[in-house]
Amino acid sequence: MSARLGGLLFLALAATLPLWLREPYFLAILTSTSIFIIAAISLNLLLGFTGQLNLGQAAFFGIGAYTSALLSLGFEVDIGLPSPVVVDPKPVWIAFVGAVLVSGLFGGLIGKLAFRVRGAYFVIVTISFAEVMRMVALNWVDLTEGPMALNNIPPLSVWWPGAGVTALVTKAHQDWLVLAVGAVCYFLVARMVRSRMGRALIALRENEPLARSVGVRVTHYLVVATVVSAAIAGAAGALYAHCVRIVDPDVFLFIYTVTMVIMVVSGGKGTLAGPVVGGLIFGLMPQALRGTAPPEVQWIIYGVGIILIVFFLPRGIVPAVADLARLRLPRPRSRTAKVAP
């Protein structure tokens, strides 16, 4: 109960932040951090609740970013058909929905392919997938502009009562929209995890042969989880495209996946709050370090940070804090009545 209250308080605080934090620079940081938290939430659904280490999550993020950008800009591409495929510019919200759908579709494809294998193989398939996507984005210049990047992507827009469709150009408005999408994703994952499907996922994380033997459709649930996870990552990518308003092939870089992994693992994989806590720490830390350290030193700190967290807080910050809080509360008698070793 208190966790839910804390969550609502946190959401309220985050939502009112743009009112008293008027510096556009800080708001931009807040927006980009929130976008990465959404991506981390999507990764946590797979990594945390099914135990599958997907190191290609940046692929779905990038697919979402490119799909939304291309749909909202319109494109013309020759794919060998008699006449080239022409797509007129679409409103941003349609582009956003398109990005979510296309990312989810790719999630389904990769899930069907990759879940024939587990463990190390799965990890390598997902890395390869992201790397292939990056090369396609880099080399399919007719569609993606390659290294020249897609520019002038229209800003996010929403339908507002009385005002019609308005573009969100101010940082505060962008921030609110990202926050709203983030809250929806969070509650979606929370619902899923507490449903029958979530219990199935956790069962297969803990003991796959056992889960299989009691009739859990392991592969089916894994593919569904991948589709949802990819769709959420795609939503994060689409938000990124319309907030930053430029997309280049670097969105597929492995380092973005690693950033999401660090956020999830440090916060606590398999906890709902974990990606949010980890995301806040590792989203804001680079900004704090920006003035004092060159980027490679930041990344060294990241790398060493992962190692230290695995060694000293293997379950992440959220479970560790929860343990601490439980220790300080007076325990019910029945729980403490343990047999001394």
Partner: protein, 290 residues
Amino acid sequence: MDQILQHGLNGVVLGGTYALLGIGLTLIFGIMRVVNFTHGELYAFGAYLAYLFVALLHLDFFLSIALAALAGFALGALIELLLLRPLRSNDIDTVMLVMIGAWIALQNGEQFVWGGVAKLVPSPFAQEPLVIGPVSVLPLRLFVLGATLVLLVGFYWLIDRTRLGMAMRATFQDRDTAALMGVDVRGIYTLTFALGSALAAIAGALLGPIFLVNPTMGNLVGLKAFAIVILGGLGNITGATIGGFVLALVEEFGAGYLSSEYRDAFGFLVIIAVLALRPQGLFALKGRVG
């Protein structure tokens, strides 16, 4: 026809170093069950040391390559002792995360020390290509091919003919039984990781003079090494050797006849295709090293 021969020769030259990389990675996975994400960084480490010794300290070229291999061995041993030995009882994913952290730290350490500008390692070989019948090849590349073949033979001898190799094979097959038979399993782990790292470093030192040396060179190579290992079946040394040559030839012919822009993508497409069609690898031998 001449063109086919030329592509074939280029592929074989590249394939030798790919095989060295693949063997190191597959050895580490087969014996230790560790997915080694630092492998590409050891390759970059070897290349940078070759640059340091040859270009900055003006040491002998061949001595420099040997020193780079030794340094790779030492760094590998250090990583094993510091990061892997304490986590021996943890699951494969936990260890994988630590290796990712080490990878990021090493790569950016290289960037920090050497800067982002690509370096060229000078070599003592003539710059004019040797023309052999219909094909031509740089003497340096011939040296690299010769060196990798010698190393491959030496490695097979080590695994197949020595007591140490026997201990490694025993650990691979059944680590508990090997330990009961008096094999120092912990020592074998450290040695395996150091040896695999030395192979990666020497591959980097050999390719350094052919390609430019830059801080992110390890990324693509590390992923390609995974492609080679998957092609050959995880833990299969002969498979990795063949896989190295196969991947290099696929890249070379793919770049020559299909699309040079997607050259580096072929490896990943190979991974995805192999895992979709034949997940156990193309040359799966059950539970054997060698």
